[in-house]
Symmetry: C2
């Protein structure tokens, strides 16, 4: 079967629980997965660490990465750059690790265009009402921020159909296992098994 790692992009509404899901997946299967860390020019928030949440770069550093084509995808949000460093992703896949990118929809579609074998996953709460409930229950955000997130979710929902698979995050454990099985199933994709396919074709050629 395919020995090279799978590239999986995970997107979803803010409040869908993507972060917790990724954390659980990497804790349960530390040898199987690698989480790609994005680069950004925005300032670190309290508690964020360079090389853990993000690689925090200056605008010059980021633009150098763009020029060297060292990013798989990048985009500008609210005046700051965000992007996915290429080398780490390719190295981990070469080692056989399945690499997960937790990125926005536009970035996800760009990655898919460049690497057609990318698995596109969208994570959603069971309903819009549940999304609102979760955003409100955090109790840390203003009404305005919550309204902004819901408005953005409404815009993002228009792109759900561009994804290949949908995961409903109702129960964290269940959803994490579903994500794991879904990604592992992709190791059987014919496109990832070309070596074996070619070797069998060649062997059988003698029997024609």
């Amino acid at each position: 079967m395919g020995h090279k790692g799978i590239l999986a992009v995970v997107s979803g509404f803010s409040g869908a629980g993507k972060g917790t899901l990724m954390k659980a997946l990497l804790e349960h299967y530390p040898d199987q997965y690698a989480l790609s860390i994005s680069a950004t020019t925005r300032s670190p928030r309290a508690g964020e660490e360079h090389g853990r949440e993000y690689f925090f770069l200056t605008r010059d550093q980021f633009e150098e990465l763009i020029q060297k084509e060292a990013l798989i995808e990048y985009a500008c949000y609210v005046g700051n750059y965000y992007g996915t460093p290429r080398d780490y992703v390719l190295e981990q896949m070469e080692k056989g690790k399945d690499v997960i990118l937790e990125i926005e929809i536009q970035g996800a579609l760009k990655v898919k265009e460049r690497f057609p074998d990318t698995l596109l996953l969208f994570v959603t709460p069971p309903s819009g009402a549940e999304l609102e409930r979760r955003l409100r229950s955090r109790g840390t955000e203003t009404q305005e921020v919550i309204a902004g997130r819901l408005g953005r979710a409404a815009e993002e929902a228009a792109y759900m159909d561009r994804y290949e698979y949908l995961l409903v995050n109702d129960d964290l454990e269940v959803c994490m296992e579903e994500m794991h099985r879904l990604i592992q199933a992709q190791h059987h994709r014919i496109s990832g098994c070309q070596e074996l396919v070619e070797s069998i074709k060649k062997e059988l050629e003698g029997y024609r």
Copy 2:
């Protein structure tokens, strides 16, 4: 998630162990799967039963099914018709069962054309040499029959890339579980979750 059943087509070389695999899958998960039974105009072999291995029909009966468009696909091999009755497949899927068709490559491609959501699986032994070993070890076939099967496998190998997923049948239990997980993962395909996607879109529309 998708409540309707998945349609999965399983093809593979004669000697790959498809039959044993299907039997094991249905024994382990009798509530999840339904195996479609083909119709044919060829005569039953010793031990074959109408409605178990095949529906054995006369040429007139078969041609009536063709005319009534009651077959998902059909083909003619060595002067006999083989085809997949439509109603049984659709009824089982409607009930939420995942339906498996064990059919030839040409039939598989026709089904995929007609039902693009069909999952195409190809089952192979680990190598061509192992295929030959398995065919010979049965000890029931003549040299000529074995050579014919290997020659046919060589022709079929050319179409392996038209399938979506490859399963290597080395250990029966392992391969059966891989097939199960692969088919179950397809319940998360976005195309099978349109009801949920539309309902979330509609709910969130109010937040724009």
